[in-house]
Symmetry: C2
């Protein structure tokens, strides 16, 4: 069995290996940000200055590489809620985070498709990203609920799904729409519905 790709702190990678792995991630990220959403593996390898085989030594599959790039993006994003809650009230923090989400999805407008292709799989690698994100949203929602500003019964997981659609958007003017949709959802959250 080839050693699990999760660098489960088994053995510290050899120097050149670590360098190449990083180069591949960078090359992929750059390609995506540049809009070349479905860059071929050959192309990514070439950009990183390695052969395809090397790509496959580090990532089980093309998808896995894409997933890793996205996982890192998500990690960045997950740091935001704590900061926002420190600087703003719960409601405003939530609003700003939602908008940040849109902005993030916008990066080069290539990440959107990548994200979508990832959402389509249910690899465990990905569950982590999702649950991290859901947890980040939970932080905001809990604060909001405690302050009586957000209806109870909505958790991060649900909200994440509600917003999932905006990331796949590609059509002209999508960003404008995405912002208005988050406003819509945000208002929905605050509305103390009388529905059973």
């Amino acid at each position: 069995m080839p050693p699990s790709r999760q660098p489960s702190q088994a053995r510290p990678l050899r120097a050149d290996a670590r360098r190449n792995r990083e180069a591949l991630l960078t090359a992929a990220r750059e390609a995506f940000l540049a809009g070349d959403t479905d860059a071929h593996v050959e192309e990514i390898a070439r950009r990183a200055g390695v052969a395809v085989g090397t790509l496959y030594r580090h990532f089980d599959t093309r998808e896995a590489l894409v997933a890793e790039v996205y996982r890192q993006e998500v990690a960045d994003l997950c740091a935001a809620p704590a900061r926002l809650l420190a600087e703003h009230g719960p409601d405003e923090a939530l609003r700003r985070f939602l908008l940040l989400l849109v902005e993030h999805a916008a990066v080069g407008r290539g990440m959107g498709e990548a994200l979508e292709s990832i959402m389509a799989t249910d690899s465990p690698v990905f569950d982590d990203a999702r649950s991290d994100m859901a947890h980040a949203l939970d932080t905001l929602l809990t604060a909001g609920t405690a302050a009586g500003l957000v209806r109870p019964g909505v958790d991060g997981r649900l909200l994440l799904r509600a917003l999932g659609g905006i990331c796949g958007m590609r059509a002209h003017g999508w960003q404008q729409d995405a912002i208005r949709i988050t406003e819509l959802v945000h208002d929905g959250l605050r509305h103390t519905a009388s529905r059973t």
Copy 2:
């Protein structure tokens, strides 16, 4: 140039051609509903009892076939608003339509992916489907706004995008979530926000 695939009432298709075209659409629909979302062209052709070449005589590409199947589904759905408005008040009609949308997306839970793969392209074939759908939603929104139940400034196109995400859902328990999300959006629509 091979004659445009839009049967622009130029010449009525030969009898066997019409039969095969129909068989292909049926085969594709069945495959999707059965959950075999990415059925190979060979498989679809086989189910329809024709060769691949025939598939390509009728549809420019695999995508085009998928698009046509979906277009027909949408047409069905677009008939609903008029009926619902006749039977219920504007607000209730809107709510029911949103739920119907979810139910429809549920059909065999294969249509979701197909839809997603279609949303990803911006072929004109598809603009029609989208604008028909948006128009159907407009009917409901206009009625709601007139009755003072829905905030102004939201049109069908925007709402359609807001809901786009639910169709891609595949994870366990998605349908439950989808219903709650439509409730969320529905409440958001009714909330008369004070935002500028």
